[in-house]
């Protein structure tokens, strides 16, 4: 079992946007590694690239509103031995520049880190155009790509640092809204590993991003009615830790996947693919039901579209009956 925050379910647990962890990690990398450079498309503050840009102005490159060029520049700089963090909103990068990421970065073997901020429906009032709900699917499908979806700001910092030390293209998915900082400095993270955040024997909940915390909340509630859930943080969506997942469902016999992403192509699909070929069990998918979002407050949208702890509870109740 991993160490999580002591006040895990306290209403006054500290909150911070996941993107903050990226900004902190990038500054640490700036100090440690002279090859780390950052590029951004006119979103330097909101993507939390600003502190790096202030401390290392000679290693920050403003690209303007040009995400295709962003990816191509990153490829060219990586080709020269730099470790570029190319940053924008996830709807634009990898949303708009997928072809460039595919050919100039992945196929060409360039060591570029793609940072997609403001992912998920929790972007809120900006509406459907700005709610990236497809980014995991389109990055996960690319050969050679590593896909990391941190669950809080602390993990986002670790993910950022690990990405720089990993040779090869990496996509990191960040969220805008404040969410609980529920992991700790001691909580382990490693690319390619899944981590069990709560043990249980009746149902596995495999989640990534803010839904990991909602899954813990759901597990806490379900425990009161005698359903013990095992909660797994699938921060490394690709490569996926199939061993950990299979070991868990062998114990529980069913799984709920939870993510702030379309139910097609994302974390749920990755789980289903891994289990279908190894150890098929009943699965329920918590995520966006093949729809576009809309404007609203983040918590309203998460609730309306069924990606909160209530939705996870319902999914667990349904899936245990299918065993």
């Amino acid at each position: 079992m991993v160490k999580l925050a002591d006040n895990l379910f306290s209403p006054d647990i500290e909150q911070a946007p996941i993107r903050n962890g990226y900004g902190e990690g990038l500054v640490i990398l700036g100090k440690e590694n002279p090859n780390v450079v950052a590029l951004c498309c006119d979103l330097v503050e909101s993507t939390r690239t600003l502190e790096f840009a202030k401390q290392f102005p000679e290693r920050y490159v403003e690209v303007g509103v040009a995400e295709q060029n962003l990816a191509g520049l990153g490829a060219g700089m990586a080709h020269e031995g730099k470790i570029p963090f190319v940053t924008s909103y996830a709807v634009f990068s990898p949303g708009r520049n997928w072809d460039q990421i595919r050919v100039a970065i992945c196929y060409s073997g360039n060591n570029v880190k793609i940072i997609g901020s403001h992912a998920g429906i929790s972007v809120g009032p900006d509406g459907a155009t700005h709610q990236a709900l497809e980014d995991i699917a389109i990055t996960r499908v690319l050969p050679r790509m590593t896909v990391l979806v941190p669950c809080d700001a602390i993990e986002a910092r670790k993910v950022t640092i690990a990405a720089a030390n990993h040779k090869g293209p990496v996509y990191i998915r960040l969220a805008r809204e404040k969410t609980p900082k529920f992991t700790t400095e001691d909580t382990p993270f490693e690319i390619g590993k899944a981590f069990i955040y709560r043990e249980g024997k009746h149902c596995t909940i495999a989640a990534a991003g803010p839904q990991v915390y909602y899954s813990l909340q759901a597990a806490n509630e379900l425990s009161k009615e005698g359903i013990e859930c095992e909660v797994i943080n699938l921060v490394s969506v690709k490569p996926l830790d199939e061993q950990a997942l299979i070991a868990s469902v062998k114990k529980t016999g069913c799984v709920v996947s939870a993510e702030e992403h379309q139910v097609t192509g994302g974390v749920g699909s990755a789980v289903a693919e891994a289990l279908a070929k190894n150890y098929p069990v009943p699965q329920e998918f918590v995520g966006m039901p093949d729809q576009f979002g809309e404007s609203g407050e983040p918590n309203e949208l998460i609730a309306k579209w069924g990606m909160d702890s209530k939705a996870i509870i319902k999914a667990v109740q349904a899936v245990v009956k299918r065993k």
Binding site: N69, A75, E80, Q100, G109
Partner: protein
């Protein structure tokens, strides 16, 4: 640089013959663009760029980025003549197991910096390399990017052009194959590109226009770009698609298809008897 221009003209002719042989053997591929660019590639590889075919990753080499990957037969033939791989390997174009894919792949092709095919991507990558070399590594090597005119219709090209202009990437020289054709017809009918010179100049580029079949003029323009310390240079190379083969010249129908056996025989016959028809003397 010391190579005699007449020798380079002969080299370009050999490259043209190789292109025809490669295409007919492969049974698919692009004819017009590669033939039209034989003189530009010859000028770059035998009169302009610094490289070592025995050590393709030589740190101080000039970087060559092909943006319009579909004209790769001319690149492959040139690389073979420059000694990057055996000439006999040209016969493997587009065949299973080849290093000479239908569109270039940097991880297997000696001398390639990038993979290309989807249009409009090369200038961004070239700009990323040039920015690194100029501002971070502070090295004297230069970046040469060959692009087509058709891919000027891609928005990304202009994103990259703006970037290179803003950051005064003086170590970047782009060469545009201005042959006026693309798959569906003439560029100015499919989607007009002019005024190309004014567009690039407006984005802080120095623009030079050359006869893309005059090797001396191409070399001179590249050398001139080296002396410009303010901004990137675009060399608009006015070329004739299919140059050197009468029945292909100027015809967009030859953009995306290879010659058949009989056509290839005719083309090779014409090229062998070309006898200096493509000349570089200044008038």
């Amino acid at each position: 640089m010391g190579a005699n221009i007449r020798q380079l003209e002969d080299k370009a002719n050999e490259i043209r013959q190789d292109i025809i042989k490669m295409l007919v053997h492969a049974g698919s591929g692009h004819s017009a663009g590669p033939l039209g660019m034989a003189d530009v590639f010859t000028a770059l590889y035998f009169g302009v760029m610094n490289y070592d075919p025995q050590n393709p990753k030589l740190p101080e080499r000039d970087r060559f980025v092909l943006s319009c990957g579909h004209i790769c037969p001319v690149w492959y033939a040139t690389l073979a003549h420059a000694g990057f791989f055996p000439h006999s390997e040209l016969a493997t174009l587009r065949k299973l197991g080849t290093r000479l894919h239908g569109h270039p792949h940097n991880e297997v092709l000696p001398g390639a910096e990038n993979s290309s095919g989807p249009l409009g991507q090369g200038l961004s990558q070239a700009a990323g390399m040039a920015y690194s070399g100029l501002y971070w590594d502070k090295k004297p090597w230069r970046v040469y990017c060959v692009m087509s005119d058709g891919e000027q219709q891609e928005g990304q090209t202009w994103e990259a052009a703006m970037f290179a202009g803003k950051y005064n990437l003086r170590n970047l020289t782009a060469l545009m194959d201005r042959n006026n054709i693309q798959i569906d017809g003439y560029t100015e009918e499919v989607m007009p590109l002019e005024p190309l010179r004014a567009k690039y100049e407006a984005m802080n580029w120095t623009v030079v226009e050359v006869d893309g079949h005059n090797i001396q003029e191409i070399i001179d323009a590249c050398n001139r770009a080296k002396a410009i310390a303010e901004n990137p240079t675009l060399i608009i190379c006015h070329t004739i698609p299919g140059k050197g083969v009468d029945f292909m010249e100027y015809r967009y129908e030859w953009h995306g298809k290879p010659p058949k056996e009989e056509e290839a025989r005719q083309a090779l016959k014409e090229l062998r008897t070309l006898g200096g028809r493509i000349r570089s003397e200044h008038e």
